[in-house]
Symmetry: C2
Subunit: 190 residues, 2 copies
């Protein structure tokens, strides 16, 4: 009996299931098609609320979520809001940190590395002259986002750094934030 048989869930990641999922998708690539969704409702001022529940993937509509995840967004007072939630741009920082962290835990597990700590801080610099329409040369979005990880586990510093690097290479959020994607905006005005 190998260590994997005894402890399949390294870092809380079920490694045998991870590899079984990968094998199943390799055999039936259509299973890899996912669609995620959100609904957002304006609540007044700069305040809105999203509900996130349904998604499709692995050939079917998900039924595992029994209720929605609910997130408010708002501007702080200095940006003419009431601070009822984090700002939309701050959710991008959460998304990149969470995506990279998930990759770190999963890749480490696949490589037989047991982690004891994964923490990160994210900073995003933005010049609001762009959004305010005061300088055409200034972009609307972040000029730069920096993610700083602290990772500890039973591997060498080089091995741990390599796990972070592989997570970056395979991160869905990193890809979108660095390379951009097609965003279509439609409006119905009854």
């Amino acid at each position: 009996m190998t260590e994997t048989d005894l402890r399949p869930a390294r870092n809380g990641v079920d490694v045998p299931t991870l590899f079984a999922t990968r094998d199943a998708v390799a055999a039936t690539p259509e299973l890899a098609q996912f669609q995620f969704r959100a609904r957002n409702t304006w609540l007044g001022g700069t305040h809105s609320r999203s509900t996130i529940q349904g998604f499709s993937g692995a050939g079917q509509e998900d039924t595992s979520r029994t209720g929605p995840f609910v997130f408010d967004a708002d501007h702080p007072a200095v940006l003419v809001g009431e601070g009822n939630g984090a700002t939309p741009v701050e959710f991008l920082l959460h998304a990149i940190a969470a995506c990279l962290t998930t990759g770190v835990a999963t890749i480490a597990a696949a490589r037989g590395i047991t982690l004891t700590r994964v923490e990160s801080t994210v900073e995003g610099d933005i010049d609001l002259l762009g959004v305010l329409g005061l300088a055409d040369r200034v972009r609307n979005g972040y000029r730069q986002i920096r993610v700083g990880f602290v990772v500890e586990g039973d591997a060498s510093p080089d091995e741990l750094a390599a796990v972070v690097e592989q997570s970056r290479r395979r991160s869905a959020v990193y890809d979108v934030l660095t390379n951009g994607t097609d965003v279509v905006v439609d409006v119905a005005t009854p």
Copy 2:
């Protein structure tokens, strides 16, 4: 006395403050430099938690937030997680909907349009062959994101559609998601 004097807060947006803020930034462009931040801690498996509180902008460190906003992220079971939160990529959908909605409410207020409804649905298509490392030709992130707005208010359909279009043109999140930005990832391995 004008209508603006009587009802400065159209759509819940304090329009005089909005324009005063814009004028102040135009006079002192350094006020437009903002830095947003997040801290993320891995909780095991694909589950992590971000706290978002401090930011700097308008020449100082914010003190308006008396506590953090806290968001969990996780994968669903079909993606080897436990469903303790929305997935990282779903937070991108919330971010784009919330950013565009904030812009719609603000721009409508500035244009003297009173809104009665702003709702949106967002869909993002992703082929996980990329993230799983099963097809080099497939990107890791979303192939496309679609945002569908329903907007109602005291303006013509064309005027309401123009508000959404202007919001898209000035959206920080739309800019990052479509054009990408510089993302630096560092790691410390004590």
